[in-house]
Amino acid sequence: MRLLKQMFMNVLWSHRFPQATVRAGRRWSCFLSLTAGAGRTFYANAGLRKESSQAHDLAAKKLDLDVWKSVMRSSQPQEDKEEDDDSNDIDDDEEEECSTLESSRELVEMWRLAGKLVPEQISEEDLQALTALSTKSSKKKFLKRLALKEHHKKVDKEKKERKRAQKEAERQRNAEGEEEGADRPLRNTFLMHFWTRSMDALHNWRAAQSMCFGQPLVFDMSYEQNMSKPEMTSAVSQLLESEGWNRRSADPFHLHFCNLKPDGIYHQELLKRYGRDTWDRLLITTTEQHYMDLFPKNQVVYLTADSRNVLRTFDHDKVYIVGAMVDKSIQTGLSLANAKRLQLVTARLPLDNFLHWDMGSKNLTLDQMMRILLTLKEGGNWEQALEFVPKRKHDGFFKAPQLRKQTARTARISERSEANPRTGTGHNNWVSQSRVITVLNTSRIKVSDVKTKRKKNWWDEE
């Protein structure tokens, strides 16, 4: 009835607006075919249908709009049987305990079917963690993280496989070439082959040397309770990477992992990632002791993004401390609080003095920090060192970095220290005479220290 009415309206419409007749005509034919072809069965053969007229097509289509339902219903019994089999498999004992895990597994399954980002394989441990999460969004996020991890793993594996295949093919080709033609130059050389293990030995030798004589660099591992599980995982990854960069550098630091609680989460995670043997053979100092017990207080500088003092020059006689913490949700002032508690000298990198900062937080990852410090240690300037700040966070370097200062006061101080480096070094008793001194600027830090001391009784003076 509605169709009829519509058709009538269309006719009327086409009378008034001739250009609309094409459309109306189509509907008309549709209606015709509907009435004519009622009860016609559906042809699945596409070849036949191609040849049929437009009207025929439309008729068929109009008829089997619900064909998908019948298709689905017809395939139903087998599925049912399978489901029955499944349900029979489940044992009755421990049903209570299993049911929550099982329902979580089902949830993952259904989300996969619904096209959500979930991992293909999920371990029992992860499943338990999933069940423990209370909200839907947290579950989704957790699964998404697992799925991405799985994806990365898969991609890496594929890449490795591809490379291996390529190498294999290359070798094959080489072997064939050797067999065929003798004109290939012989692989003979008077140079000794430098094996990877020799390189490793060299690195280890350097690391061992630094453990005897090198400049210490401390990772403060006391932030266990401030990190969530994923943050902890990435912190450990960053530590591993930092250690690697340090070991491979020409002049490594003597790494200290201080405040490392035995059998704490950090220790467990590190053991898990390194393996017991490697961990035991690692040429770094790991200790439960506090860094204050290991180094004199006036030698220690805590590097934190929240500090108000800018590190202008790298001092080879200082012990720099880096807080081994990853805070995805930025926890401002956490490491600064620790430094304040111990009344340590703090410093931050001169990011604002050298970089057009674009966006993103100014705390860097541990491996970035390590590479920056290594570059500085090897005699590089700030431009070279700050290359390791992620490019997405800044918009390039200033043309003349020394000209731009945050405040007039800091500018004055830096000019002074540059004009007369001795004013900086004068404060420091730890400068060994034999070494070439990189310009020190402890003066600023010292000055602010003195000021805080004086500040404390300003009220009494009044």
């Binding site: 699945a44 596409a46 249908r49 619900d66 064909v67 998908w68 079917l113």
Partner: protein, 589 residues
């Protein structure tokens, strides 16, 4: 000062702060709260602040005119806490910076990679060719269905797509069915949803929460509403159902006359610590208009809103009003109104609850601010123990303040000139009015620099008590504590909304209390020009919260179409009172 509004000012000022009543000699200070400034819109602010004194009269006239116009809509001055201020400011700022076009939805030029959604059902062959021609045949069906959902196309087109897939592959995958279900639910094709339910139920052991939610939504409104209970059960096996799921089932039960079940479910919802949706409350109130067996429980809902500082939206407020009016015993009447400047209901004239905190509340809040905001988990995060000690001794040693200035915030409020100059001007201005002032700042302010003149700072220290925290400490927590410590008459001046400090407080009740105190004691500088009085935004004298005195109810509500930030409170009220009382015209003047 022959403004039309001046008499109104006098009433007003007394109510703004009990200070004037207690200490009449301070009324000069309060005159600086220029009440004729009705708007917090920055446009006006800028205009007014740049006006010269000679043009004062003309300007005032203009302002009065503006007032009379605005009176129809918004009778009282806007504070930063009044609903809609933030969005209007943002709008103004956007217009000012000429970014009008940015908000326009950019035409997405996805190119031809996406096949257009056809406007009539297609045949199998047509679908096949469409799929072949599309640049991304992978997942063509699901993508197409998604676009159909977005475009809300006709269900027939979707059916033809499903037919095509079913014919081609012999089955349909879950994702496609789920998208089709979404389309059906949006289009209210109930019979189709039932069919789909049978099919999906038979093919899949369980469904995902999204599908359950959609089915619950549809089933609860139809005759098969009882089935939505079982769906809710199966949903709760994997996770806590959302308040919306509960709300749908409750609404379904109420619609079919099963109020006992609905209330049982409502209890379960509360037990799980969820906050019910406004729609749920609306359904509960609506259903009780005819049947009055759960009146006490509905009153509990209102008290729940009061306790959690929730405000009903306009539709819910209407339901509440009609429920009250349907109560057989007392002859309730509801009317839409606003609150007068003196903290009275414009409709019935009843006094609204005062914004003042009781002594116990004050003590509690003070302790909490010290414990949670200043000390926190680690006292070193925001300050040091030595500094805290110094601060404590300081506040004990000086008499209670009348006003606490957030030094850095006030100094930076106006871009022009030296920061120290602005601070000095504001401090001097307040000092002239005989107030005991505290300026809180950081120690770098005392060091001479181009923005902090030493002379200025010396003079600031002469007119006011000063406390400078370390450069690496936070100053706001100290400001809050100093203001709280000085007692109820002490205001604080800052433009900062203190949200991060509010968030440090441990529980919701204290946060509400803090917010209440903040609304009653925070002065926001409204206009300042050198040589002129500083003006502050008005402080409400009444608390914006759902309240009752037995004989009447006053419920603040959000009008439709107004977006309110979390730190804002509504300005519109629903006044409910028993008939028999003298009534005044209900229109908000």
């Amino acid at each position: 000062m022959s403004s039309l509004l001046f008499p109104f000012v006098k009433v007003n000022l007394k109510q703004i702060s009990p200070l004037s009543v207690l200490r009449p000699w301070r009324s000069i200070f309060l005159k600086s709260l220029h009440p004729y400034l009705k708007s917090a819109e920055l446009a006006n602010l800028r205009l007014e602040s740049t006006k010269e004194g000679s043009r004062y009269a003309a300007h005032k006239k203009k302002a009065a005119q503006k007032d009379s116009r605005r009176n129809e809509r918004q009778p009282f001055s806007r504070s930063v806490f009044a609903a809609g201020t933030a969005s209007r400011t943002a709008e103004f700022m956007r217009r000012k910076s000429g970014e009008d076009m940015v908000d326009q939805p950019v035409a997405t030029s996805k190119g031809p990679s996406h096949a257009e959604v056809p406007d009539c059902p297609l045949t199998v062959t047509e679908w096949a060719s469409l799929k072949q021609n599309s640049l991304r045949p992978h997942q063509f069906e699901v993508q197409m269905m998604k676009r159909m959902v977005a475009a809300r196309s006709s269900i027939d087109i979707a059916k033809s797509l499903l037919t095509y897939v079913a014919v081609e592959t012999g089955t349909l995958n879950y994702e496609l069915l789920l998208k089709y279900l979404t389309l059906c639910v949006h289009g209210n094709y109930y019979s189709e949803v039932f069919d789909l339910y049978e099919i999906m139920k038979s093919h899949f052991k369980t469904l995902d929460p999204g599908a359950y939610s959609l089915f619950i939504k549809v089933f609860s409104t139809t005759d098969r509403w009882r089935e939505s209970f079982t769906m809710l059960e199966s949903l709760s096996k994997t996770m806590t159902p959302s308040p919306r799921n509960y709300g749908d089932v409750i609404a379904g039960a109420l619609q079919h006359g099963d109020s006992t079940t609905a209330w049982a479910l409502y209890d379960r919802l509360l037990e799980q610590g969820l906050s019910p949706n406004q729609d749920t409350w609306q359904a509960l109130f609506k259903s009780s208009c005819s049947e009055h067996s759960h009146n006490e429980r509905l009153r509990d809902i209102l008290l729940f809103m009061r306790d959690n500082q929730l405000y009903p939206g306009e539709p819910l407020a209407q339901c509440i009003s009609s429920w009250f009016e349907s109560l057989p015993a007392d002859n309730w009447t509801g009317s839409w109104t606003t609150a007068g400047p003196s903290g009275t209901c414009q409709c019935c004239g009843a006094a609204l609850e005062s914004i003042r905190l009781s002594e116990e509340e004050y003590g509690l809040l003070k302790d909490r601010v010290m414990r949670d905001v200043i000390m926190g988990r680690d006292v070193f995060t925001k300050t040091t123990p030595q500094e805290l000690d110094r601060f404590r001794k300081f506040v004990e040693s000086v008499p209670a303040f009348d006003v606490v200035l957030d030094g850095l915030n006030v100094a930076n409020t106006f871009g022009k000139g030296k920061q120290s100059e602005t601070l000095l001007a504001v401090a001097t201005e307040l000092e002239k009015q005989g107030l005991n002032i505290l300026v809180l700042g950081r120690s770098h302010m005392r060091r001479h620099s181009h923005s902090w003149d030493r002379d200025h700072m010396t003079r600031v220290q002469q007119v006011a008590h000063c406390f400078f925290t370390d450069d690496i400490s936070e100053d706001d927590p100290f400001l809050l504590y100093a203001a709280l410590h000085s007692g109820n008459h002490c205001m604080f001046v800052s433009r900062d909304l203190m949200r991060d400090h509010k968030a440090c407080l441990a529980d919701g009740t204290t946060r509400c209390l803090f917010f209440k105190w903040q609304r009653g004691h925070q002065l926001v500088v409204h206009g300042y020009a050198p040589g002129r009085r500083i003006r502050f935004q008005r402080i409400q004298s009444y608390d914006t919260i759902l309240q009752t005195d037995g004989a009447s109810w006053h419920i603040p509500y959000d009008p439709q179409g107004q977006d309110r930030c979390s730190y804002e409170v509504p300005t519109t009220w629903l006044c409910l009172r028993r008939a028999g009382r003298p009534t005044r015209p209900t229109e908000a003047s």
